[in-house]
């Protein structure tokens, strides 16, 4: 069992809500995560599950109509006092000093993370000038070196290019360079390789691992790809509709998932099954406006029991083996989800509210 001081980042009971015309959306609803020092924690889920909002909340980047509705985000730097990011003022100096230097982020969409009117080199220089206390000359030297590290050819020339002069892949590399240039203690990587080609993705995954090993940085890796999770992470947390439904050591969760949603995600990967039809999770992710009662996954679950799964509050995570937790109410009976037909066939009836757009 890891003690608190081994955790460089502890998120506890995080809630992030968005006020909309249709009511309050609970995008993140009581998420707790512990990122151990020097480790990689993957946060995995499909679009809309709240994984990106969780990342934005940790960096306090949520803007109206969204707001942090509760919870704590404690950062324990290697040298210095623990600080609760959730308690800091929205644009406070402390927060600005932490962002980009101690906690850095790689965004999913490279074009929105880069300014279109500054050269890529100038933008990376700026991070160094702000946080590293170096002069312009040294900043550019480190920028060029970093661009080389992320695999940008002729980095001296490329540093003087604008984002629009680069390909999508190049832009994402520049964003990665910008995030890593100050050697952050915590790196939040939000789908950093989703936009990259698979051979380049493999390079970047290796690169992130290398850099992580070099400076012992901890990574919160957000992805939808269980393959990336398996290769990159030590621990994994699976999110569904704003809640963590399963978490634990990667090997255990991926080899013996104990939540039907995790099992369904694993089974529906093309290439996993030689069958003519891929196993699918029935229906689709419901809207956050209409989160099902009981277990939020029950309308799509092949193992749901009427009366148990569809009523009451959403089930809490329960420990089923050391550090392996699942929020499935039937976890005691459902012990080998990957071997049993864990995902529904087409004949399963789904309430129309789930199919309806």
């Amino acid at each position: 069992m890891k003690t608190n001081s081994d955790m460089v980042l502890s998120v506890d009971g995080l809630r992030t809500e968005f006020r909309t015309d249709g009511g309050t959306l609970r995008a993140v609803d009581g998420v707790s995560l512990g990122l151990a020092r020097g480790r990689v924690l993957a946060l995995v889920g499909e679009s809309g599950c709240g994984k990106t909002v969780t990342a934005y909340s940790i960096l306090r980047l949520i803007r109206p109509p969204g707001h942090l509705a509760g919870g704590s985000i404690v950062l324990r730097p290697g040298n210095g006092q623990p600080v609760d990011l959730a308690a800091l003022g929205d644009e406070s100096r402390e927060l600005r000093a932490i962002r980009g230097s101690r906690v850095a982020m790689i965004f999913q969409e490279p074009m929105s993370a880069l300014s279109p009117v500054h050269t890529v080199g100038d933008q990376i220089d700026e991070v160094l000038l702000l946080h590293a206390g170096v002069d312009r000359r040294e900043a550019r030297r480190r920028t060029v070196e970093m661009l080389r590290r992320v695999g940008i050819p002729s980095p001296e020339t490329r540093a003087d290019q604008f984002p629009h002069e680069m390909s999508g892949g190049m832009r994402q590399r520049a964003v990665i360079a910008m995030a890593l240039v100050c050697r952050p203690e915590v790196l939040i990587a939000d789908e950093p390789t989703t936009a990259l080609d698979v051979t380049i993705q493999a390079q970047i995954l290796h690169l992130i691992k290398e850099l992580q090993a070099e400076n012992g940085c901890s990574v919160l890796f957000i992805t939808h790809d269980l393959g990336v999770v398996a290769q990159m992470a030590d621990e994994v947390a699976v999110m569904y509709l704003g809640r963590i439904v399963e978490s634990g050591p990667v090997r255990e969760v991926l080899k013996n998932p104990r939540h039907p949603y995790t099992a369904g995600l694993l089974a529906s990967r093309p290439g996993t099954s030689a069958a003519r039809h891929l196993p699918v999770i029935a229906g689709q992710v419901p809207s956050l406006h209409a989160i099902p009662s009981g277990c939020p996954f029950h309308p799509r679950c092949a193992h749901r029991l009427p009366g148990l799964c569809d009523a009451g509050p959403a089930p809490a995570l329960q420990e089923i083996s050391p550090r392996h937790q699942t929020a499935c109410l039937r976890s005691k009976e459902l012990t080998c989800l990957l071997r049993t037909p864990s995902v529904s066939s087409a004949s399963t009836t789904i309430p129309s509210s789930v199919i309806d757009p």
Binding site: E46, T199, R269, P270, L278, V280, Q284, D356
Partner: protein
């Protein structure tokens, strides 16, 4: 159907090229170079067959598919399509003669958000091809739209809703219904499942597979995800820097990839099993088709590169009964 119709490929592509000029800055905008996005691509597509066109961004797979459909005009080469009224070379056909052929060739796009007109209802979108080609109207049109919508797993009662009211997977179903309502003989699907979440992606893959078997569709499936291609295609052509580097039956290519690039692609896909580590990646950038290296375009990244690779461009030649390969090494060692 007579025998020639069965043996003649539905589509025969020969030496297809699409080169884009690179112009200098300023007023004159001289042509300073060429991007060889698609360079000398040849393949046959038999009736009822699904060919996967795979490669990374910039490999020319999308440009190739679009050049065949004449969404882009090819620079050189032929794309002979067996239309209902006989063979036509799509590459050289004057633009006004293309429109009647459009009902026989349809496209499914990658992005279910930008490929649907937000001001049209789902029903109007699906019906539009029939309306444009004046193939149906009134209640016939309504019936066909409703039939097609339920066939792709959409509730016809939702035909009056606009695209924004549908999820990503459902929008992709709308795009598929729009493409199939003409009963085209050739479908080009450009990364049709790439933008979807894995659980939804599996549903759409199953749908495409059912439709293919049921309607006997002939299709070109452009994708970067090899596992998706494996699940949906009969044959696969791997493209690199605008050229096909390896082509053959899908299971053979997966079981025994011979081109170092194909091997690199297969190895680079991360396995969901933590006990199968990601092998060391191939170095280097995806190739810049505006500035091709001499010899084999893959040689700067190739782990097995030897002398001829740096100077002589390997031709795509027959490597096994149903396979073609463009690699010096494989053709010397495997003989």
């Amino acid at each position: 159907m007579n025998t020639t119709e069965q043996t003649t490929p539905l589509l025969r592509v020969r030496g297809l090229c699409k080169h884009f000029p690179v112009r200098s800055r300023g007023f004159i905008r001289r042509v300073t170079g060429w991007i060889r996005a698609v360079d000398d691509v040849s393949f046959d597509l038999a009736r009822g067959e699904t060919l996967g066109l795979v490669g990374e961004s910039g490999s020319g797979k999308t440009t190739c598919a679009r050049s065949i459909l004449r969404a882009l005009s090819p620079t050189a080469g032929q794309a002979v399509f067996q239309s209902a009224s006989g063979p036509v070379d799509l590459a050289s056909l004057p633009a006004h003669r293309l429109k009647p052929l459009r009902r026989e060739m349809q496209m499914i796009f990658q992005d279910p958000f930008s490929s649907l007109n937000p001001r049209m209802t789902a029903g109007q979108i699906v019906a539009e091809p029939l309306v444009i080609h004046r193939l149906a109207s009134g209640s016939t049109l309504d019936d066909r739209v409703a039939g097609m919508m339920s066939r792709v797993g959409l509730d016809p009662a939702h035909r009056h809703r606009y695209p924004h009211a549908f999820s990503g997977g459902q929008r992709q179903r709308i795009g598929i219904a729009r493409a199939l309502i003409m009963r085209p003989s050739l479908i080009v699907a450009d990364e049709a499942v790439s933008a979807l979440d894995v659980s939804v992606q599996a549903q759409i893959i199953n749908l495409l597979r059912d439709l293919r078997d049921e309607l006997g569709l002939t299709s070109i499936f452009v994708a970067h995800d090899l596992e998706v291609v494996r699940h949906l295609c009969d044959r696969v052509a791997v493209m690199y820097a605008g050229r096909i580097v390896e082509e053959g039956p899908v299971e053979e290519i997966f079981a025994d990839p011979r081109h170092p690039y194909t091997r690199a692609l297969l190895a680079a896909a991360p396995s969901a099993d933590p006990d199968i580590p990601l092998p060391p990646p191939v170095p280097g950038e995806t190739c810049d088709t505006g500035n091709l290296p001499a010899g084999c375009a893959f040689h700067p990244r190739c782990p097995d590169c030897f002398d001829p690779c740096r100077t002589i461009r390997p031709e795509l030649t027959k490597a096994a009964p149903a396979r073609r390969l463009a690699c010096h090494l494989a053709s010397t060692t495997l003989r």
